[in-house]
Symmetry: C2
Amino acid sequence: MSGADDIELDAETRLASDHRGELRLWLRLLTCATLIEGEVRGRLRERFDVTLPRFDLMAQLEKSPDGLTLGDLSRRMMVSNGNITGLVERLVDSGHIVRMPHATDRRVSYVRLTEAGRTEFAKMAAQHGDWIAQMFSGLNAEEQRTLLRLLGQLKQSVRARSEPA
Amino acid sequence: MSGADDIELDAETRLASDHRGELRLWLRLLTCATLIEGEVRGRLRERFDVTLPRFDLMAQLEKSPDGLTLGDLSRRMMVSNGNITGLVERLVDSGHIVRMPHATDRRVSYVRLTEAGRTEFAKMAAQHGDWIAQMFSGLNAEEQRTLLRLLGQLKQSVRARSEPA
DNA sequence: CTGTGGTATTTTAGGCTTGAAACATGCCGG
DNA sequence: CCGGCATGTTTCAAGCCTAAAATACCACAG
C-alpha cells in the first residue's frame, strides 16, 4: 500500500496526504484518556493506596465471580501475558486475590477475588464510579449517547483496519 | 450543568448513584485509545525501530524548531519530569536530539532535533499520519467533527473537575 | 553579601509494560 | 506409545513511568 500519488495537490490547499483533521482528533482523544486516567490513578493512590492496573484487574475479577485464567485477564485488559503474571503475583501477596488450579489442565491457573479483596474493591469501585460520572458531567445524556455511538464506530473502524485476523 | 435530575424515574431501576452509563462510556473511550496506541506502537517498532514515547517527544520538538526545555516537554506530553530526563538521555545517545544550555539561566537545558533526527522524524510522521487516518476512516467528515466537538467538551469537563488550580 | 523562597532538573525506589524466548502441558495422528 | 504442534504461563532484558526527595541555580529582600 502507501502507493499514494500525493504529488498532485488536489483542489487547492489540501494534499492527498493531509491527515491533520484525523491527527487532531486522535490527539484530543488521547488527551481525554490521559487526563481521566491520571486523575483516577492519583485518587486511587491517595485514597486507597492502590495502583490503577491492580484496580483494573480486580474489576475484571469482580465481573467474573467464578474466576478467570491469566490468559483471560490478558485478553480482557489488553496487556501482555507477562504483565499479568507480575500483577497477579503482587495482588496475591497483598491478599486481594488467590490462585486456583484448573481441575484437569495443569497449565492453567484460575484467579479470583478473596473476601477481603471483594470488600476492598467494592469501596474503591463506588468512589471510582462517582469520579468518572463527575468528570463526564459536562456532557448531557444525549451528548453521552452520541459520544458512545461514535466511539463504538471508531472501535470497529480501528479493529477492522489493524488485525484482519 | 451537572444538575441532573436523576431523581425522577429512578423509582425502580436506577439508583441515584448508578453511573453505569458514564462507566461504559469511559471504558469505550479507553478501549479506543488503547487499541490505537497499541497499533501505532507496534508499527513504529516494526518499521522504524522506535518507541512511541520517543516519537511523541520528537513530535513536540518538530513543532518547536527553536527548541524546548525539559519542563516544556514534561507539561506538553503530560508526563513527569523525571520521565523526560530519561527519554531525553536516550534520544541524545541515539543522535536524534541535542541539548543546548540556556544563555543565562544555568538551570535550564533546551533540547532540539538534530538534522538526522528531523529527517528520521519526517519519515515516521508521514506514515503515522496515514495510519491514523486509516484507523479513523470508518467515520465520515461530519462524524469526525461531532466527535472532535464532544471530546473537546469532555476535556473541559474533566479539567474543570480535577485540578481547579 | 546573604539568607530565603521559588524554579528546573536529576535521582531514587518501586512498579508497570512490552516482545521474545523458554517452560510446561495438553492433544492428536500414526 | 510417541513425536510434533498448539496452548498457557513464566522468565528475561529493556524501557517507560510515577511520586517524592535531592540538587542546583536564580532572584530578591534586607
